[in-house]
Structure formats: C-alpha cells, structure tokens
Symmetry: C2
Subunit: 453 residues, 2 copies
C-alpha cells in the first residue's frame, strides 16, 4: 500500500544531496560554448579568470563531469534553510475540484525569499576559498542581491551591489535588507565606473537597466584588486548549484513512490527551471523515464516562444561573452512587468538547447492572468507567491483544470521559487484593477532581432 | 548515546499536537476574572456573548479543563504551515563561542510572518461554525490583521480590519497583503463608527492609536448583524491556541532527549510567551520539572518590570472589560518604538499572575540593543527577525555569553515569533545610526498609574 502523503514532505538532513548534478554531462547535443566578445572564439578558462572565480570557471566550462561534490561548508549553510519542503497542494486540489495531484517545491522559506541563495552561497564560498576580498554583482528586483548579501555576510566577504536605479528608489526595503547584511548598494548607473559615467552623460536622468548594472559590476570587479563578478542566473555554474532543488524534489517523490507526469517552472534566465528539472531531464535524456516539462515565461518577454536561437550578448552593454540561446536581442527592453526576475532578453544556453531539441515545451502567460492565479493560490494555500513564481502557478492550475475535464489523475509538480513580500506594489495594481498586459508586436521583435551580432 | 541533533527539528505531521493545553487548569492561584466595565462584577458568558463567539467565550472562562481538542479543520490548516521548525542555532553558538546550547522555535514561516496565525485560524473557525457572516478586529503593526485576513479567506468569512491610521499610511504593503486576502482595511479613527467620529471631532488630524482602533472594531461588531469581534493577544483563549507553539517545542526536545534550562520569550500582550512556555510552566506548577522562564519587554513599555498589578481597562477607550494585570495604565502612550507588537500597556492576566507568584522572571531591553542583536542574528543564522522577536534574541545572546564566562553548558530555548520584512524602516534607522532609546521616567509612569480605575 502506498504511504499516505503528508501536506509537506521534508527530507531528513541525512537525505540531502551531497553533490550537484551537471545536466550537460547527459546531453548528446551539448550547449554551444560561450564566445569571447573580442575574438568571437570559444571562451577559455584564461578568458574567464579575470571575471569569475577559478573554481566557478571550471564548473562553467565542464560539460562532461556528471556530479560535483558540494563542499561541507556549503552543505552546512544549506542546512540552515534546506531541505525545502515539497508541498502536496491538497487545499488547491480540493478548491479546483481536480483529480490531478499537485505538488510544489517551495524555495521561499529563507530570508532572501527565493531559490537564489542556493547559488549565492556557493559562489561566495569559492570566492572566499580563492582568498578574494569581495565580489560585485547587479540586481534588479533584488532577490539575487539579497541572497548574495546573506552569503557574503556569512563568509565575511565584501559585497558590492549595483541596483537598477528605478528599483533602488522604488524598493527601499529590498535595499535595506541588503544593507542589514552588510552589503554596499549603489544605484546604477553611477559615477563610480567609466561605463556608468558614459551612460549618465549620454542619457542624463536615466533610471537604469539591468544591462547597464551588469556592465558596471563587471567593470568594478575587473578593475579592483581581489574582486570578482558573480551572477545569479543564465550561466551553467548557476544551473549546476540550483540542481539541489530538483535533486531534493526527486528524492522526496521517490521516498513516497510518486512519479511526476508534468513538471512546470517559470523561466527568466533559467536558474530555477534548470535546477528543478535537472534530474528529471537527466532520466529523460538517458531514456529511463519520460516527463512533460514546461517552461513558463511572461508574454511581455517571450524569449523561448518568440525569440531566435542564435548567438547574442548576455548583457546590453556588450562587454560580456556571447551565448547561443533563445534571445529577443540584447537591446530588447521588455515593457514594465512586475516579474522583474523574468525580464531578461535571453535564456540559459543549456535550456535553449534542450528546447531546440524538443525535450521541453514552453508557453507564455499575460500578467493579469498570472496575478489572478497568484491571489487564488495565496488564499487557498496560504503562501503569498512572488510574481515570477506565479507564472508556474498559472500553468499548473490550467493543467489541473484540463485534468478536471478529462478525468485524468495526472501528477503535476511545479517550482514555487519565492515569496512576494516585496512585490506589494504589483499586488496593489492588481487589486485596484490597474494592471496592464503588454505584449510586444511582431514588428517590435523583428526590429530588435535584426540587430543580433 | 544521544541522537545527533539536526539543524532543524521538524516533527512529523503525526506527532503534531491534537489538543491545546490550558495552563490555567494547573494554576493554584487562578488569574483573576475579567470584570464587566459597567457593573464591575465578574464577566459572565452572557456579558461576553455579544462581543465574542460562543465557543471562544467558553474557552475564555474555563480555568479548569486542561485540554481542548483541536478541531480537525484547524488541524488541517495547521498542516499547511506547521509543525514549525525548532532550530538548533549551531552557527550562533559557534560565533558567540559559547558552551551553551541554543534552540529557537521559529514561527515566521507563514505568510502572516508570525505566530498570530495559530489563534487567527481558530477564532475564524469558531466564527464560521456559529454561522457568522464576518469578524472585526484592529491591527497596529499589522501581523495580527494579516493573520486574520488569511484565516477568514480560508473559511470564506468577511474580515473588517481597523488599522491604526499612522500604520495604514506608513505600511502600505501590510495593508495590501490584507487586501490580497480579501479583507477590508479602514484607517482608524474613521467616520464609520460613533466612537471614531467622536475622536475625530475632539482630535482632528490624529493619527490614531491601538486603543481607538479596538473601540471602533468592538462597536462595529456589536452593532452589525452576524459579526463578532476577535483579538490577537492578551485573552486566555489566545494563550490557549498559542499553546501549540510550546507543545511542539516540548515534543521536539523530548524526541531528542533534550532538557531546557532557560526559556525566553518576548512579551507584549503575552500571546507568544504564554503559548511557548505553557507546557513547561505546567510541569513547573505540577512540580515535575524546573525551568528559568524569562519574559522580555521593551524598556519603553515595561508593564511587568515597572507596572502595577491591578485591575485596569484592556483598551484606551474603556469600553472593554477590566483585567487584573501588570499595567502601565490604559492611558499610557508608549514612546515610538519599532516593536509595534509589544506596545501594549498591560499583560495577559495569566502571565501577570504567574509573575506575581514568582514563577517567572521579567527583564526589559532598550531598542538599540535589540536591533544590534537582530542584525547579528540575521547575519549568523540567516533569518531576518521581527523587532518584537529580537527582544528574545537579545536576552538569549546575553545568557549565552554568561555561559561563556562561567563555562556552563546550559540549554537555552527562545521563541522567534516572526520575520521583519515589513520592518525595514526600523532597520534603516538602525543602519543609519538614527535609532532612539526612550525610557519613561518614574514621574511619567506615576502620573499614568494614578489614573487606574
């Protein structure tokens, strides 16, 4: 007889993963290599060393080693907020009246409020190991910056965050959490860097962009002794660290003899989705099991569903390497959307390759439908979700409602990446009926894609 | 050999308490009864019925039944966010270099961000059972209002919250969370009630007070068909529901064969402290075990440490019953302090009686010392604590440092009642060195206490 499933499945600490899983090792078609922006040749370790920590460069470039041991210090930190619960959404199932079984992996139970901490602590650890003084990064919505501040504080590293100016001004509480963890937070563009000064001169009064903040953070890291740059998504190393999400999810399902049918995650740069699906996709690649895997992106920034699979710059400033990925063009500026973590023009090259190979699906949803699902979920399951996470909730609900029509008892698993405490301005707009659903026209996208390098 | 203690002890769902523990049943000196404000005679069930739900009135007045079964519907809701973890603070111990063993019961892992949900869901359940249409309440800092909104949304009850006007304006995000859960939120004083209109007439431009908001909520409940009033602290019924905190804590400690030496909790109206200590105090009262139990209050609002044990009104408007408690006088207006949840002039009559009988200690701490501990804790343990909870952290750290001096390996358990996401204005003041430590003078307190009824 099958064991009764509790509301929340917590693994024991002894059941936590001891190694990260490198999905690329099982891919027949490997993701294309990063290209050096100057030479347009595949990046070497030497190319990346001035920007990233040595150990992280190794992880970035290694597409054959299937497992990387998680250092004990990181495992100890993980124990402060992991394992995260795999929740059986009994109340949601009941309210929807669906025969589907719904599970979600909740990554919001830590102070950074999202899954970002899983990679932040790893990157901070390797920086410390290398004897560095500090790291620089950019942040938009602030989840990544918060996570990195926590991680640096734990390892006594300096943390320098360039925060997109509009967010710096509109989200003072996010900024303050970072300061509480000892980070220095600078509104970007700033006069601290050459690229910042240049942008301010050309566009006085600009409120900044993620692309500009990345350029400032990279410049600061490469021009300051003992510093390196760190990034919260897109890169292979980040997906590697985030595999802890999927590994725990799979271990929890296996423990109760549950087999997933559909796995759903929101997709911006790909950090959460890549981590959640890793071990499931691995089984699929090795022919051991089959799953429907669905990436959900905002209709306002639809890189997988409407972008082009091509080499493009990872940043708007065009100082970073080029990646082969589904992209809307690195000059594409998505319309204001409250899911700041999903407003990225491209997509992890690993996920892009899997999508190109037909191994996963992608869909896009509009903002109002996302918040409708978010509020419904909050009231039924008691967790106030982040706008990003709510993209996955929307599609999970839609799939569960399809099961209601067909009577199928499918098992749906989705990633609930974080909480929405710092997104109440967005909820307010939704509650007041003032939310917009902007979708770029074909002409706009064509215009942006024309400029691909 | 003793089992190795994990970082976080999660009970299985099957180990969760099935009944609340009524500490009063084991008290030889029972807390004094509430008095009817009109007759000054002990309140009867009939006196309280127009204000509170029937079942809650029973719980309020019953000081002999030791256990009340938790209804299945409430236990199901508890499973969405409970059991809460009992965390072994390994990192804090290491950083302090103390031989003490430190544990904290973390109640912030739910969307309301605090322990308040434990009683909110119970009170909403009984209101629903009675066939009511809705409930009214007041909220200051907003934790209680948020918790009640979530609970009412779950049971499809109307929820009407009077929010102290200054908080309504300064904490728009708190207000928005409540609205997201479907509550109606009114800044108090308002023109919706007679008492509100009267106050506005006498004090135009006032930013409100908790006492005034209580008066409005009570008036609204008693003058609207199908409504009752609910309260998040001070009352016996609330302490009863909150005993789930202590019962889980004790079960988790027992499971690993750990015996606490010192138990520490912050104390405003007493809901968290009363719940945390209940089963431990029960053992102490029955002579089965001994514990040092410490209540921590803000130096700006020191009811136990500097107040008088006497009958006083529970609200500033003097429409509510009188309780015998340690009080600073119901007209006492505490100086601005960022721990809004601790700014109450009195203290639960149960805790007051225990303190009067020498069964527990009390101490007070200043605001800056509290935030110093909060930030230290956040950086070491990764959880951003609420200002209220940080009062307990301060004293736990101080006790652990004493152990460092003496070499004693004491086991310290404290209550971490909630998270500080909505308190970043306070953290900002602390980070900018602009925090004040106001302590009322003896003359001020004497003045306020002179007016006791």
């Amino acid at each position: 007889m099958a064991k009764e499933i509790p509301y929340k499945i917590y693994l024991d600490e002894s059941e936590m993963p001891t190694a990260w899983y490198n999905l690329r090792a099982d891919m027949k078609n490997k993701p294309a290599p990063l290209l050096n922006p100057a030479t347009r040749q595949p990046c070497t370790a030497a190319d990346l060393a001035p920007v990233f920590c040595e150990e992280l460069v190794k992880q970035e470039l290694d597409d054959t080693t299937p497992y990387f041991e998680i250092p004990q210090e990181i495992r100890d930190f993980y124990k402060m907020y992991r394992p995260s619960p795999l929740v059986r959404a009994y109340c949601l199932e009941k309210k929807l009246g669906t025969p589907a079984k719904i599970y979600y992996k909740f990554e919001g139970n830590n102070t950074s409020g999202s899954h970002k901490l899983n990679s932040a602590i790893a990157q901070a650890y390797y920086a410390k190991q290398q004897g560095l003084k500090g790291v620089t990064t950019e942040t938009g919505a602030g989840q990544w910056g918060t996570a990195l501040s926590m991680a640096c504080s734990y390892f006594d590293l300096d943390c320098k965050v360039y925060m997109v100016k509009v967010s710096y001004e509109q989200k003072p509480f996010r900024r303050e959490v970072m300061r509480t963890y000892g980070a220095s937070v600078t509104p970007s563009p700033s006069t601290e860097t050459a690229v910042g000064r240049k942008i301010l001169e050309e566009h006085p009064g600009t409120t900044g962009s993620l692309g500009c903040a990345i350029s400032e953070a990279v410049e600061k890291a490469t021009t300051t002794e003992g510093y390196r740059y760190v990034l919260g998504s897109v890169l292979n190393q980040v997906l590697l660290h985030q595999s802890v999400i999927g590994l725990e999810t799979k271990a929890a399902l296996d423990k109760y003899g549950v087999k997933a049918d559909i796995i759903i995650g929101c997709a911006g740069g790909g950090s959460n989705l890549g981590g959640l699906i890793a071990p499931f996709m691995g089984e699929k690649l090795r022919g051991e099991a089959d799953y429907r895997i669905i990436a959900v992106e905002p209709a306002s920034c639809p890189s997988l569903t409407r972008g082009k699979f091509a080499y493009d710059f990872c940043d708007t400033g065009k100082v970073c390497p080029l990646a082969k990925m589904y992209t809307l063009g690195c000059d594409f500026i998505p319309a204001p959307n409250h899911a700041g973590g999903l407003r990225y023009h491209g997509m992890s090259s690993t996920l892009s390759q899997l999508y190109a190979d037909g191994l996963m699906e992608a869909t896009s949803v509009t903002q109002t439908k996302v918040f409708e699902a978010a509020e419904y979920f909050a009231r039924v399951e008691g967790i106030l979700p982040a706008p990003e996470s709510s993209h996955a909730i929307r599609v999970a609900i839609d799939e569960a409602l399809k099961c209601k029509e067909t009577g199928e008892e499918k098992t749906i698993v989705f990633g609930l990446t974080g909480t929405g405490y710092f997104d109440m301005v967005a909820y307010e707009k939704y509650n007041d009926g003032k939310m917009n659903d902007y979708i770029p026209t074909d002409e706009e996208l064509a215009e942006s894609l024309k400029k691909l390098p």
